[in-house]
Symmetry: C2
Subunit: 275 residues, 2 copies
Amino acid sequence: MQTDRPLDPIGVFDSGIGGLTVVAALREILPSENIFYIGDTARVPYGGKSRRTVERYGIELGGLLLAEHAKIIVVACNTASALAVPRMRDMFKVPVQGVVAPGAAAAVKSTRNKTIGVIGTRATIASGAYEHAIKALDPEVRVVSAACPLLVPLIEEGMFEDEVTDRMLARYLDPLRSAGVDTLVLGCTHYPLLRTAIARAAGPGVSLVDSAENCALAVRELLANSGIAAPPSRLGKLDVALTDATEGFLRTAAKALDLEIGDVALRSVQEVQKA
Amino acid sequence: MQTDRPLDPIGVFDSGIGGLTVVAALREILPSENIFYIGDTARVPYGGKSRRTVERYGIELGGLLLAEHAKIIVVACNTASALAVPRMRDMFKVPVQGVVAPGAAAAVKSTRNKTIGVIGTRATIASGAYEHAIKALDPEVRVVSAACPLLVPLIEEGMFEDEVTDRMLARYLDPLRSAGVDTLVLGCTHYPLLRTAIARAAGPGVSLVDSAENCALAVRELLANSGIAAPPSRLGKLDVALTDATEGFLRTAAKALDLEIGDVALRSVQEVQKA
């Protein structure tokens, strides 16, 4: 069915809307590519769920993207990148790109004192995926991690500048400050929307690393190496689908990220049989 | 397949673990009944999702309970009670009991100044289900509602006694205090776990109403009227299944509610075809 690989879309999915930060970076770096984005808003959030369930969700969402003729699948969700990418690579023939490896590489490049902080959902932090990826690049780096389970709800409430958010950030980040991290990985695609408050809480001299831009660069390389990049002359389009029709936060995020989104389609998730 | 209705279980479901507050009330009032509880932890929370999706989830969970030979289905989730019960009643032959009507009745019985506050998830409050049910019982009552979207995440983090929780409660409840409510409906089955902090924020002289006990009384009446109550001499058992294997908060809640839970089973949700 793949009649025209270069014009087939880059398929991107996230548990919800946070992955649009990755879409914004893709549009910046690869403006001629079509993008098909699916947010699994019917089952958001993934961050407190088990590996087995997140793996299943990744395979199901990947299947929806393949049905849209995706030529590559971008997992724009840190929890799914940390937990589901290996199984997705086993199952799908198209390349699967997560956000953890690019984020880890950027952090290793950024740190001066070899002390990196990582914040993310409970599932992402418990997986140890960032720590593993960072240590694989430089075993001498010390990694200090903190699960921040309330940040996604606070962001989805739009509480970007709020004393309650600041208090929670202080609680989550104080141990990382004390440990002397000079680089902080925003290990959840929601977090760039809270960048200003996070920078304030992390303190001066701490570089914030988000995976979005590095993930988009990795996608560009994958497309070039596979010879399936879209011709540079054209202007790509962005299609968005959700598994539940709750558009409130979608519009807020799209505006904050300066993304053009037309009609939003609905997709039904077909459950795959468990092994 | 229904060979022995009186010993068939009462089927109870919730989006997650909060519905165990209803189970605790059922065990207290109906100790001889078997109970089969399913928490849809793979898709929790429901509170920010659309009516159509919550209806579908209600029908799917109801189907899982019928597969366990449930003789009655108790929707121990305010969001699903507000949004899904009418369609479930259309589809299922067994009685379907939600928590909204019993909570509304208890609130109308409790208020002296005919001013009732209702707190719940965004979806529950937007549905107007409590306001509708209260006005149907007494059109003169004034209802003041507030969506409290951060309370479920705070409760699931176990932040029962915490200044951040107190600040969010003050923000949510101050308008209800100013409106002079003398009765406050805890319109989410998670909220009884936060009763102490809610009572403090609501101020003295405000009666807190939760639906759990009144829902259990309604179930007792339904079973008696249908002639399918279990014989009073026996001791019923409680079985728990989850759609995702994340047991952390289950154990916390069960302990807080003094519930005996053995092994926890896993159930896979089979998506129903959309109409």
